[in-house]
């Protein structure tokens, strides 16, 4: 396929920090083309949050505070995952001024699965597919108007997703 291997992990860091355009000169055509999209993101990959084992620590690393449960956050997840390798989970909310949405699975080796940045004009609805190691709580955090709201649901996993 068209995946390119530039082999420079450090290069990527620079791209992600938004300083890539200059630093990249001469490294590779594809990487160079990549730069604008990520440079414009102007946001760093939250490496530390993804490294945390516990959900609470990941949330703290990501946002620096705690969330309160809200019935305005609608989390849709199966009762029993047909296979932990592919668990369809989605969220929608009626909260205003949403700026980000994060998904966490409490019993995964690293609790944080994904963070989505929602700029103005983008709807606060996301669907994705997660790996789940075992039965546990799936929590979604919605950052809206500078505050954190959450919803949690237990998903039973009979075939763990750590094999895939």
């Amino acid at each position: 396929m068209t995946t390119t291997h530039d082999g420079f992990a450090a290069t990527r860091r620079l791209i992600l920090k938004g300083a890539g355009v200059i630093a990249l000169t001469g490294v590779g055509v594809i990487s160079f083309n990549m730069a604008p999209a990520f440079a414009a993101a102007n946001d760093k990959y939250p490496e530390d949050a993804f490294k945390q084992k516990r959900a609470a620590d990941a949330i703290k690393s990501l946002y620096g505070r705690t969330a309160q449960a809200s019935d305005k956050v609608k989390l849709d997840a199966p009762e029993i995952a047909e296979n932990g390798a592919v668990v369809p989970i989605s969220v929608s909310t009626t909260l205003a001024e949403v700026t980000s949405i994060a998904f966490l699975a409490s019993e995964n080796p690293n609790a944080l699965a994904a963070v989505y940045r929602i700029p103005p004009g983008t709807m606060p609805n996301v669907a994705n597919r997660l790996k789940m190691a075992k039965t546990c709580d799936v929590t979604v955090i919605v950052e809206a108007g500078g505050k954190l709201y959450s919803a949690t649901k237990e998903v039973k996993v009979t075939v763990g997703g750590c094999g895939g």
Partner: protein, 285 residues
């Protein structure tokens, strides 16, 4: 590629003759037509709420929570990459300039429902996987692994072009064809492995039940969804691969892919699902 979702096949109108069970015939003189009817009636009676043509969707025809997850995934199914690979492989000429299309009726498009077929010259059952490899070998190419990703992708594409077409397996008036059918049936019902299970133990007696974590698929229509993308495999797998893994799971030493027994089994199982639509490539947990 514009996917015609198998979900919609469930609503396809099909004239499914659901007559009452015909009287018993001696086991040694098989009556395939009557047996296929009895086979279907068994499942229809066991699952009165499942539309007959929905059996091709396996466990998703009998479990609501699983069906919802499946429908969610079918919005953009993970097997799409395999399907595209199959299309590309199918269209790419061999070194001699010929291609798969030259080996099959209708250039190989929309014909999956006719396999396995009985070859009168050879006196044996020819599965689609076997026909594909024979096509390769006849054109100076090495055969593909029957359990590998490439064969899975090729058959996925061929199934895809045949979606919605009812299985149309023929048993010609040839004692060897009837024998192949009978041998396939025997294989299906014969217990094997340390667990002492037959194919029927799981897929006739207990479909819809949980076996450890999996929900067992009904035998009726089980091959219509092949090949299948399994989340457990993280990829597409052929009928051969599924049969081999079925055997291993019951602690029986699998036969070589495309052994006579497997070919005959496929012949039998496809025949008894005649009239039900092709839904492959399917996805399963």
């Amino acid at each position: 590629m514009n996917l015609r979702s198998p979900i919609h096949l469930a609503s396809a109108t099909l004239a499914l003759a659901l007559a009452t069970i015909t009287p018993t015939v001696a086991a040694d003189t098989p009556d395939p037509m009557a047996e296929a009817k009895a086979f279907r009636n068994y499942f229809v009676a066991k699952f009165p709420n499942v539309k007959p043509e929905d059996f091709v969707n396996g466990p998703y025809s009998m479990n609501k929570d699983m069906r919802r997850q499946w429908e969610e995934k079918e919005q953009f199914p993970p097997y799409e990459f395999s399907l595209d690979m199959g299309k590309e492989m199918f269209g790419k000429p061999f070194k001699n300039g010929k291609s798969y299309a030259d080996c099959f009726p209708n250039q190989g498009i929309g014909i999956r429902q006719n396999y396995p077929s009985f070859d009168a010259k050879e006196g044996k059952v020819i599965t689609l996987e076997l026909a594909l490899n024979r096509c390769r070998e006849a054109n100076g190419e090495l055969p593909l692994s029957y359990v590998g990703d490439e064969m899975a992708a090729l058959t996925a594409y061929m199934a895809f072009t045949s979606r919605g077409k009812p299985f149309d397996i023929k048993i010609p008036d040839d004692p060897r064809a009837l024998e192949a059918y009978q041998n396939g049936k025997r294989y299906f019902y014969t217990r094997r492995g340390q667990l002492n299970f037959s194919c029927a133990t799981c897929h006739v007696q207990n479909p819809g039940e949980r076996m450890r974590a999996e929900i067992l698929a009904p035998a009726l229509g089980i091959l219509n969804a092949m090949p299948i993308y399994r989340s457990e495999w993280g990829g597409m797998g052929t009928i051969s691969r599924r049969l081999v893994t079925c055997n291993s799971q019951i602690r029986a030493v699998p036969l070589e892919p495309q052994a006579d027994e497997y070919r005959d089994l496929e012949y039998y199982l496809s025949y008894v699902s005649n009239g039900l639509p092709i839904s492959g490539p399917g996805s399963r947990p």
